[in-house]
């Protein structure tokens, strides 16, 4: 059981990084990115190719993944960021699907549908199975913590204030002389790079990646995490990601005791259960479990000297 908890927490940690990155893009800046899984996948494959094909160590793989995620982010952003709301959503969704098709069809690079086997572990080799599992959990938790601290600092800084202004009405910051497009581009690229880093961690944890690991349902889970946790609140995203993973995995145990239903019905019941909990959350806490804190008007802030 303890080994299983470690496994679930490791996966949850990866989802925390993804949710934080999406929260920066959507929760703070209002960019609707449905292509989460595309960047996640690019990170995973880039890291895998760097370590297995090119023989770099894990840290090298992680760097290559972040770089690949960032560069792809720039490309997608330059092509699509001028699009507003719903249209950006469609383009990013299309990007994720395109990425998956590339993973599936470029066998020489990605191993195609057979999958890509990653032998490089993020921790030193030679440890026992249990110790390795704990060490990987520690690494993923550290990565999640770093992402959380950096992004929360960003959100609380004046930079975060501009992002919120862009989200509410981009006309206002641009009248104040802010280049809205550049801010959006930066946010999109930073988010994409973080998603790719999550992909790298995930790839070296699961050790076999196939194009099926990067289908849209993964993105839906991340979106659920951000919305349930409370869009715009970094701590909310952490909580949301943990909650969604616990719900998704924990429901396996809830239904285990029911013997009246056959396996087929039980597996359907799990999804009904997950859906119900989500609907209830949204119904009774529409702003999420931890809503974004409303800042007081700046009356209490002492006036700065001109």
């Amino acid at each position: 059981m303890d080994a299983y908890l470690v496994a679930i927490l490791t996966v949850a940690g990866v989802y925390v990084v993804l949710a934080l990155a999406l929260n920066l893009q959507f929760g703070l800046t209002g960019l609707i990115n449905f292509g989460v899984v595309g960047f996640f996948g690019i990170g995973a494959y880039a890291s895998g190719i760097a370590t297995e094909t090119l023989g770099l160590p894990f840290v090298g793989g992680l760097m290559v993944a972040i770089l690949a995620g960032g560069v792809t982010g720039v490309g997608v952003a330059l092509l699509s960021l001028r699009l507003s709301g719903d249209f950006l959503a469609i383009v990013t969704l299309g990007f994720a699907e395109t990425a998956r098709l590339v993973f599936n069809n470029e066998d020489w690079l990605t191993g195609g549908p057979r999958g890509f086997i990653i032998r490089t572990r993020p921790v030193m080799s030679g440890l026992s199975r249990d110790v390795t599992a704990w060490a990987v959990l520690g690494l993923v938790a550290a990565a999640a913590l770093i992402t959380f601290l950096v992004l929360r600092r960003l959100a609380d800084a004046p930079y975060g204030r501009i992002l919120r202004a862009i989200r509410e009405d981009d006309l206002v910051p641009s009248t104040l002389g802010k280049n809205v497009f550049v801010y959006r581009l930066q946010v999109f690229v930073v988010g994409s790079a973080a998603m790719a880093a999550a992909g790298s961690l995930y790839a070296h944890y699961v050790q076999t990646i196939t194009p099926d690991n990067f289908t849209t349902p993964v993105a839906i889970l991340v979106w659920m995490a951000v919305i349930v946790g409370g869009a715009g609140n970094m701590l909310g995203s952490v909580l949301g990601a943990l909650l969604v993973t616990v719900l998704y995995e924990g429901s396996r145990f809830v239904t285990a005791g029911i013997s009246v239903l056959d396996a087929e019905q039980i597996s359907a019941l799990r999804f009904i259960l997950i859906g119900t909990v989500l609907i209830l959350t949204i119904r009774f806490r529409p702003m999420g479990i931890l809503p974004e804190s409303q800042r007081r008007a700046s009356a209490s802030v002492p006036p700065t000297t001109p």
């Binding site: 496994a7 098709l101 069809n105 057979r114 076999t208 099926d212």
Partner: protein, 407 residues
């Protein structure tokens, strides 16, 4: 009461150690846990439920008769959704939380391959049905057993049929997945052996597309007199429709699971002339009838539940091996599966008969519902019946049944 540091530390240590101590003490009488991991939805959706039902039926039967090694068998069932990622998460729960000693039932080769590293690490036995030629590669510890022949065997039968009908130039198409990729390679080499060849490049399309017009046009443009399409029912139906609409006049070869009742209902008379084949259970054999009766199906001289009967064998083999090995350790179970499947010993077809003989110390040779269940050293099946059909007037007409033997 003062809580001294010493008391706190010893108390905390004891509390933390309690689960481990309890687990050790309870292990002797605890139920034997086995995972039933089947595709209850997705591409394997038509076949997963019959596998899950067969597992459940065998376990219920064995439990009412007193269990295995005097312990109850507990089946931990889960759904792979025919998706390797989901399969891995389900398998991780089975291995780490439930501590199963074996996982039976994976169907798509991609699922089986995806959970293999986990199972190998934890010494968990895998018994499955799959046909990708890459399946034996990941099994470093000899813990895997496959109740389905590999693609090589299917392709030999299909290529023979093609040559017999005079089709020596055949185009190949299939969905872009592991199964079809390995099918394409095997079919090409089988066809070369009978003097034929593949027309053009093997053509892989993306599954789950809305339309296959462009793919069909490309296939027609090869002007091949025959096309072999190694698809599942969902994509094959769409591709075949486009081929018919595009006016393709050649012969179409495919696999039986792509042209089940659903396909025939949708396509109607346009299905006539399709040649197809697949591994089949030995219709009329006593062990197969016992299985059908157990899951409340009537033997009717036709192929029914082609994967359910293999699942029945999966579970019987596992339980007999645990009974024989008197252990739930993976390597010991695997050793006994080999011994029980290949003999030497008296022929048995059910767990009850086998357990009786094992208790008297005699050797047994399990003869299954899906095949005679003899394994090669790499855990793959030695031989299995294979049937070829032609669709005539909306019905499958049997052309021939062969037994494919792998050397």
């Amino acid at each position: 009461m003062d809580l001294s540091r010493r008391l706190f530390i010893s108390g905390a240590t004891l509390t933390l150690a309690a689960p481990a101590l309890l687990r050790h003490g309870l292990a002797q009488s605890a139920p034997i846990k086995i995972g039933s991991l089947t595709p209850l939805s997705g591409g394997g959706g038509p076949y997963g439920p019959e596998k899950a039902k067969a597992h459940r039926a065998v376990v219920d039967l064995v439990n009412t008769a007193g269990g295995v090694l005097g312990r109850k068998v507990e089946l931990i069932a889960d759904n792979t959704e025919t998706n390797p990622e989901v399969a891995v998460r389900a398998a991780r729960k089975m291995i780490d939380a439930d501590r199963v000693c074996a996982i039976a039932g994976t169907w798509a080769s991609s699922e089986t391959l995806a959970i293999m590293p986990l199972c190998q690490d934890a010494n968990v036995v895998q018994v499955y049905t799959g046909s990708s030629d890459y399946l034996p590669n990941g099994d470093r510890k000899g813990l895997c057993f496959n109740l389905q022949p590999l693609n090589q065997a299917w392709c030999v039968a299909l290529a023979d049929l093609a040559a017999k009908r005079g089709f020596l130039e055949v185009a190949f198409a299939g969905p872009k997945n592991d199964f079809a990729a390995s099918m394409g390679e095997s079919f090409a080499s089988a066809l070369r052996k009978v003097g034929g060849k593949i027309v053009g490049e093997p053509f892989y399309y993306n599954p789950n597309q809305v339309s296959y017009r462009a793919e069909a046009e490309r296939l027609i443009a090869t002007r091949a007199p025959a096309i072999f399409i190694a698809g599942y029912v969902t994509d094959f139906t769409a591709v075949y429709r486009e081929l018919v609409r595009g006016g393709y006049k050649g012969k179409v070869f495919t696999l039986s699971f792509a042209v089940g009742p659903d396909f025939k209902k949708v396509v109607g008379s346009a299905a006539d002339g399709i040649l197809h084949g697949s591994p089949v259970p030995p219709v009329g054999k006593d062990a197969y009838d016992v299985y059908l009766n157990l899951v409340c199906l009537k033997p009717n001289g036709q192929v029914q539940a082609p994967y359910g009967c293999a699942a029945y064998d999966e579970m019987n083999l596992l339980l007999l091996a645990i009974e024989g090995a008197k252990s739930t350790e993976g390597p010991r179970i695997a050793e006994y599966i080999r011994r029980i499947a290949n003999g030497p010993g008296e022929r048995v077809t059910t767990f009850a008969d086998g357990a009786k003989l094992i208790s008297t110390g005699k050797g047994i040779n399990y003869d299954g519902a899906s095949s005679s269940v003899e394994f090669l050293p790499n855990g793959m099946l030695k031989s299995r019946d294979f049937a070829l059909y032609e669709i005539q007037k909306g019905e499958d007409t049997l052309i021939l049944t062969t037994t494919s033997i792998v050397d």
